[in-house]
Amino acid sequence: MTVAADVRTEIELPDRSETANWWSRVRQFVRRNPLGAAGAIVIIVMFIMAALADFIAPYNPVANAFDRLHQPPSLENWFGTDQFGRDVFSRIVYGARTALLVGFVSSFIGASIGLVLGVGSAYFGGRTDLIFQRILDVFMAFPLIIMALAVISIFGTGAQNVIIAITIPFIPRCARVVRSSALAIREMPYIDAARANGFSHSRIILRHMVPNVMAPFLIMITAFVGQAILLEASLSYLGLGVQEPTPAWGLMLQGGAEEYAESAPWIAIFPGIAISLAVFGFSLFGDAVRDELDPKLRSQ
């Protein structure tokens, strides 16, 4: 038993404290990727607005005030008031809730279903994979908005249905991307080893393959949130999404743009800026996450 006695470990990295480590990583991220950090700030601001809307918003977002219609931006109403006298700033703050809720829930559910389907499709391969991919092709043939419109026309409007309508077109898009990474993972010896250990298909897919495709999955999610917010705004703008009087950016844009674009432009401009900033923030952050997770880009 001399040989099996001792194999000493290699060099150890010094243990740094958890928080210091975290901070230095944040600083590094900001230095390496200032645009991504800007995106992150937009997202954080959105989150704060959504979480603390009750404290931030100076007015009730759904309270009409018929004595203060179409007020231009002033010290009392920072972004002015709309055609029902509601405070635009308050509605934007509350609108962040709708946007984040729809954005995160739909992209998370859509991407997760797509993740499992994509990895499963890659794992089983062969005919299963072929049939499955052709079905996804059919779904992918529709542009995001058309697909969402079709779903809305089946289920009807309302926040919950908007989430479903945005979730469904995300599934094939995520499944496609994840499948291509999973195809490479499937050929790794550790998957053969897992099979040789007698694990079931579902266990291999969920425990052994899914963690290996987390990088593309996270990138997809961040990219999806921005898209979902835009999609929700588009649906609301078309009157097929969230219904009045719920504060939602797309809805506000529509209410303002059609009649008051010239007489009271602030009603449409501020929600428009909010939508653009949110989408821009998420896509910048998504790109940054991709760069962070891709070791090939990381060294630069």
Binding site: M1, V3, A4, A5, D6, V7, R8, T9, E10, G126, M188, P189, Y190, D192, A193, A194, R195, A196, N197, G198, F199, S200, R203, R207, H208, P211, N212, M214
Partner: protein, 331 residues
């Protein structure tokens, strides 16, 4: 001794667009309990596929076991349902793969990968499994096993990963371990350590071992019996003594001559096996080694059977006497 594994005329074919590849074409051998068997042959001769066939791990499509039987403790593994074979894998028959660098999942901790098998097959609790995993890591010679359990594969060197693989293979007390070129990817000093470890542990726990290798040094030292494969068939089978000192098949002889040996003068040139291995889609009915064989005669156009040439020694060649004679003259 009872037979642990009996493989009978196993045939595994791959159905490709270029034709049917007869990767394993009718091989038979037995493994006794606690015995170490080596399967030797050059790349592409079907030795890995024959081992994967035992656990039904050949990718289907394109591969399929088309004939024969594999009886493990009397049960034909080829007839088992998917659930039943899953229960055999890892529990009764474990496997150690060639590539220690990629045979461990990079995103799961070593402990997680070790305990998963224990929880799956022996239904251990988390604490029991952890304790057993620590014990196993100690057994395969990894220092500070409790701390190591929480680490990821990239914290381990190649040799240590192979130790972890061996620990994983041993974890459910299997009856048989199939090691597919367990040392090929390791450097030479580590190879010896790993082999000693495997030999020691299999002997200690009475585990039978099938070692697939192209390294004849391993064969001489560790194997009780040796099967030499060529083009999907076993062409010679015998004890390590037989194969080393009394080879009866020209291919075995050629293999031995292509390896440097300490007991030969250093100036002696190595004799590589001439030519290329045959295309497995285009085998004719004759001896597959015939085109590369120095002893070939006209009779070789018909397939020689694997016949006994001595006690426990089989060879598939028409000209065994000439081969044995040439060896006598040479030495």
């Amino acid at each position: 001794m009872t037979k642990l594994l009996e493989i009978e005329s196993l045939q595994t074919h791959f159905f490709t667009s270029a034709g049917v590849v007869r990767a394993v074409d009718g091989i038979s051998y037995d493994v006794d309990e606690g015995e170490t068997i080596a399967i030797v042959g050059e790349s592409g001769c079907g030795k890995s596929v024959s081992a994967l066939s035992v656990l039904r791990l050949v990718a289907d499509p394109p591969g399929r076991v088309v004939g024969g039987s594999i009886r493990f403790k009397g049960r034909d593994l080829l007839q088992l349902s998917e659930e039943e074979i899953r229960d055999v894998r890892g529990k009764d028959i474990a496997m150690v793969f060639q590539e220690p660098m990629t045979s461990l999942n990079p995103v799961l901790t070593i402990g997680r990968q070790l305990t998963e098998t224990l929880q799956q097959h022996l239904h251990m609790s988390r604490e029991q499994a952890d304790a057993r995993a620590i014990e196993l890591l100690g057994l395969v010679g990894i220092a500070e096993p409790a701390r190591r359990l929480k680490q990821y594969p990239h914290h381990f060197s190649g040799g240590m990963r192979q130790r972890v693989m061996i620990a994983m293979a041993l974890c459910c007390n299997p009856k048989l371990i199939i090691a597919d070129e367990p040392t090929t990817a390791l450097d030479v000093t580590i190879q010896a350590q790993i082999l000693e470890l495997m030999k020691d542990l299999t002997r200690r726990f009475g585990v039978a071992l099938i070692v697939i290798t192209h390294n004849l040094g391993i064969v001489a030292r560790y194997a009780d019996r040796v099967n030499v494969m060529y083009a999907g068939k076993i062409i010679e089978s015998g004890t390590a003594q037989h194969i080393y000192h009394d080879p009866q098949h020209p291919y075995t002889l050629a293999l031995l001559r292509s390896v440097p040996r300490m007991d030969r003068p250093r100036q002696a040139r190595l004799d590589p096996v001439q030519g290329q291995p045959p295309d497995l889609t285009r085998l004719d009915g004759g001896c597959a080694f015939r085109p590369r064989c120095g002893f070939a005669v006209s009779r070789c156009a018909s397939l020689p059977p694997l016949d006994g040439v001595g006690a426990g020694h089989l060879a598939a060649c028409w000209e065994t006497e000439t081969v044995a004679g040439s060896l006598q003259r040479a030495s």
